[in-house]
Amino acid sequence: MSGAAAKAAAAMPIAAISLRSTVWIAVTLALIAAPHAERLPLWLSGLAATFCAWRLYIARMRLELPARWLMVSIVFAGALAIYLQSRTLFGRDAGVALLVLMISLKLMETRTQRDGMMLAFIGYFLVITNFFYSQSIPTALYLLACVWLITATMMGLQYTQPPADTRSQLRTAAVMLAQCVPLMLVFFVLFPRVQGPLWGMPSDAFAGVTGMSDTMSPGTLNKLVYSEDVAFRATFADRVPPQNRLYWRGPVLMDYDGRTWSAAPRAMRNQVELDRRANPVRYTVTLEPHNRRWLFALDMAGLIPPRANLTVDHQLLSQTPVNSRLRYDMESYLDYSFGADGNPNPVRMLAMPRGFNPQTRELGLKLREQYGTNNEAIMSAVLTLLREQKFVYTLEPPLLGAHAVDDFLFKTRAGFCEHFASAFAFLMRSAGVPSRVVTGYLGGEYNALGDYLIVRQSDAHAWTEVWLPNRGWVRVDPTNSVSPARAEGGLAAALPESAVLPRSLLPSTPLFHQLSLTLDSIANAWNQTVLGYNFETQRALLTRAGFDDTSWRTLAIFMIAATGIITLLIALLTLRNRAGQRDFALEAYRQFCDKATRAGIPRRDTEGPLDFARRLAAAKPSAAPAAGAITNLYVALRYDKNNKNNRLQELRKRVRQFAL
C-alpha cells in the first residue's frame, strides 16, 4: 500500500495546501454543516467543531497532523456510536451523521491541494443533504451563499501565487455562478421528472414533521396547538366559506380503549355517496408533507383525488404516505346528508372498554331511559348539559385519572377540544347512540395577498359524529356548545383572557402580522412553483408551452440545444477579443491624415507623427499650430500610459475642426 502511494506521489508530486486555503475550506464546511448541528447528536457536533478548530490551529502553528491510526480509530468509534444511537447507518439522520463524521476526519487528513479539492466536492454534496430537512427560501439563500464560498475555495486552491485580494476571487466565483443561472433554469424546467423514487428511501427520510396522528388521547391536540407550522394551504375558486363551516376532515377515530381513541384499518369505497344539497365549494389544497396517508378536505368531500381512496367513514387516504408537498383539486358539499346510507356498524360504534368511567355509563343509561330511542333528544340534552354546567375551555387542562371521562365530566370540567369530543362520544355510546371522533382542523387564516387560506397545526381540532336513524352520520361539535367562539374566531378568541397563550397564538402588531402574511404568500408561491415542480406540473407546463411530446427524447434534444446556445452565448461574452478593442485615438488621427492627404500632403509610411507634423508645418505654416496640437494629443493618448481617455474628446474635436 505504501509502495503504491509512493509511486503515485512520484508520478505527480503534489502541492501542499496553503494556510489560506485551509482556512477557507474549514470555515466553508463548518458553515454548510451548521444547519445540521441541531439535528446531529450533540457529541458529533462538538467533535466536528473541535476538529475544525484543531485543524485551523495546526495550520496556523505549522504543526504536524495527528497520526493516522488515531484518526482511523476515531472514525470507527464514531461510526459505532452513530450505529448504536440510530441502529442503522443507512437512514437519513445516520447517513448525514456519518457524512459529517467523515468530513471532519478528512479535514484532519488534508495535506495537499488535491485533498482540498476532494473536500470541496464533498462540500457540495453536504449542501444537498440540508435539503432533506428544509427547502425553504431562507435555507436556499443560505446554502446558495455556501455554494458561492465553496466555488471561491476551489478557485483559491488553484492559485500558484497568493492573490492580490480576496474580493476578486469572490467576485469571479459569483460571476461564474451567475452565468450558470440560465442553464440551470432551462435544465430545471426541462429535465424529465419521474414519479416516485428510483430506489427505496430510508424509513426516516421524511421523519420529524409535525401533524395529526391517527390516535387521540388527552393532550395530543393541545401539543399541536403550540406549533406554528403550516398544515396545508387552500385556494378557493370562489369565496372562502365562513370560519365556522371550515371543518377540515382528517382521521376518523372509532376505537376507544379507555384513554386513547384510534383508527383501525377499514374498508374503502369507490365513490362518494352523499345527498348533495347545494353547489359544491371548489378549491385546491396544497398539503405539506406529513408522512401519513390522510388528505384533508372540508366536510364533506365530493370527489376522490387521483391516487387516493375514500374510506367507508368518509376519510380520504392517499395510496402512499404524503412525503412531499401534494397538491390536489377538491370539491366539498358543506350542506350534506348521508341519508339512510351511512349505516353504522353497531357493534363497533357502540363498543366501550369494560371497567372504565362507571359514572358516565350510568348517566348514559339514565338518558336512555329518559328519552328512549330518540337519539336526537339525547344528543341535545347532553349538549345543554355541557353548556349549562360551566365547562371551561382551556389549553392547560388538569390531569385526568384512570377514569378520564368521569374525571372530566364530573370533577375537573375543564378541557380542550379533545376532552369534549372524547367525553361526548363516550357518553353517546353509553346512551346507546353510535358515535365516533373526527380529528382535523377548524378554520384557517385568510391571506388576502395571495388569496388563499393558511391552515396551521394550531388550528387542530376534534369533534364528533353521531348516527341518527334517518339522517345518518351528523356532525356534532361539543366544543361549540361550551365555547362558540372557537368556531367563529379561532382558538385565540375561544380562550379566556387570563389564559397564557402559546406564542403561535399571541396577538401581534398589525404591521408584523401583515409582514408574516406577506412572507407566507411568498413561501406559498415558492412551494407551488419551485418545490412543487414535479411530474404532473412539468407535463402541464410543457403542454401549455406548446410541447406536443414531453418524452425523454424530446426534452433531451431541447436541453442539449439549450446547453449549446447558452454556452455559446457565455463563450461570446467571456472570450470576446478584448485586445481587439477599437483604438479611438488612432481612428481620429487617421481622419486627420486623410484631411492632409486630400490637401496634397500625404503622410509617408515610414514617417512618425512628429516628423509628419514638422513637414506639414513647413508646407503649410498656417495649419502648424492645429496640426501640432493634434499630434501632441495623439502621441500623449497612444504612448503615454498615465494619460488615458480624458483627452480623447479634445482630440476628436480638434480633428473635426482641422482644415487645410
Binding site: Y124, Q161, M184, L575
Partner: protein, 322 residues
C-alpha cells in the same frame, strides 16, 4: 463542416514540431482542453447528486445540481480563456557549461484586461508537479522559466514546450504547445583544474613558470605542492580561506596560444576540448591574452570577457557530434 474539422485536425497534427521564430500568439486554435482527474470526479459527484435529487424528489437538489452542471461548463470556458491569446516570446538564454541546467525563459504578454493566473510551463504533455507557474497581469508581461539539463556541449534547444493552466476551478487542463526558435550554447565541461597552461610564446624556453611571470599580481589559485612559499597568500590563509598561491603575470608571459596540437595525441577529441576549455578558463582568470587554435579553426589572440565567450563558444560548437 467536415472540411473545417479536417483542416483543424491537420492543424493539430502539424502543431509546432518545428521551431517557430518570433513572438507566438496562443490563438484559440492552438489551445486544447480536457478535463482533469478532478474534473472527472466532479462529474461523478454531479451524477450522484442528480440521482439523489430524482430519488428524493428534491427540487432544490435539482437546482443545485444543474447550477453545478453550468459551473462545470463555464469552468471550461474560463480555463480556456485563461490561456488563450497570450503572446509568447523567448528571452535570450545565457550559456551554461555541460552538466549544468540551461534556464530557458519565456516572456508571456497579456494583451487583455483580465489577469491570467497560474500559467505553468512544462516539457511534458502532462505536468509532473514541479513546474514553474506565473501570473500575467492585465496588459502586462511576465517571465516564466524552465530549467533543462544541459548534458552535452553544443546548441541545446528546448524542443516543444507546453504552456498549461487549470485555473480557475482545476476541473480542466488547458494547454498549448510552443516551440520557440531559441537555443542555449552549452560550453564543454572543463577538465579538472590543475592542468598546466602551455608555455607562453614570448617566454618560450626561458622560464619554468607556465606563462606566469612575477611582475604583476594577477590573482590567486589553489596551492599546489611545490609552489614557492613566498608566493603563498598567508593573509588569505589566516582568514581561513585555505592555502592559496599568488600568481603574477609578467608582460612577457601574458600571451599564450591554446592549441589543439599541444595536447598529447592519446587524448580523444572530447578530452582535448575539455582541456582546452580548462585552459581558456585559467588563462581568462589570469587575465592573459590568449588565442585558440583548433584544426581548421582559429580564434585570434585577445583577452577579456568577450574573448572568453568567443573561445568557449568556439569550443562548444566545434564539430559537435550529432
Amino acid at each position: 463542416m467536415l472540411a473545417a474539422l479536417k483542416s483543424q485536425f491537420t492543424d493539430w497534427l502539424q502543431q509546432p514540431r518545428t521551431p517557430e521564430a518570433g513572438p507566438i500568439v496562443l490563438s484559440q486554435r492552438r489551445v486544447y482542453i480536457l478535463p482533469t482527474r478532478h474534473g472527472i470526479i466532479f462529474g461523478v459527484v454531479l451524477v450522484m447528486m442528480l440521482l439523489g435529487s430524482i430519488n428524493y424528489g428534491l427540487s432544490l437538489g435539482f437546482v443545485l445540481t444543474f447550477l453545478l452542471v453550468g459551473l462545470a461548463l463555464n469552468g471550461m470556458l474560463y480555463t480556456f480563456r485563461n490561456l488563450a491569446r497570450l503572446h509568447v516570446s523567448a528571452n535570450r538564454t545565457m550559456p551554461v557549461f555541460a552538466g549544468e541546467s540551461a534556464q530557458f525563459s519565456l516572456q508571456l504578454t497579456n494583451p487583455g484586461e483580465l489577469t491570467r493566473h497560474a500559467i505553468g510551463l512544462s516539457r511534458e504533455r502532462r505536468p509532473q508537479g514541479n513546474e514553474n507557474y506565473t501570473d500575467v497581469p492585465a496588459n502586462a508581461a511576465a517571465r516564466i522559466a524552465i530549467a533543462i539539463p544541459a548534458k552535452r556541449r553544443g546548441r541545446l534547444r528546448p524542443g516543444r514546450l507546453t504552456l498549461f493552466t487549470r485555473f480557475p476551478l482545476g476541473l480542466y487542463h488547458a494547454w498549448s504547445h510552443v516551440h520557440p526558435d531559441v537555443f542555449c550554447i552549452v560550453y564543454p565541461r572543463p577538465a579538472p583544474a590543475g592542468l598546466p597552461l602551455p608555455q607562453a610564446e614570448a617566454a618560450a624556453g626561458s622560464g619554468a613558470s607556465y606563462g606566469t611571470g612575477q611582475d604583476d599580481f594577477a590573482g590567486l589559485r589553489t596551492y599546489h605542492a611545490g609552489d614557492p612559499p613566498r608566493h603563498v597568500a598567508w593573509k588569505a590563509a589566516a582568514r581561513g580561506q585555505g592555502l592559496l598561491t599568488k600568481q603574477f603575470s609578467g608582460q612577457a608571459a601574458s600571451e599564450v596560444w591554446l592549441a589543439w596540437a599541444l595536447l598529447p595525441p592519446r587524448m580523444d577529441a572530447e578530452e582535448k576540448i575539455a582541456c582546452l576549455t580548462r585552459w581558456v578558463l585559467d588563462a581568462h582568470a589570469l587575465r592573459m591574452a590568449y588565442g585558440l587554435r583548433l584544426p581548421r579553426l582559429e580564434v585570434p589572440m585577445a583577452s577579456g570577457d568577450a574573448q572568453r565567450e568567443r573561445c568557449l563558444e568556439a569550443l562548444a560548437l566545434y564539430e559537435v557530434p550529432s
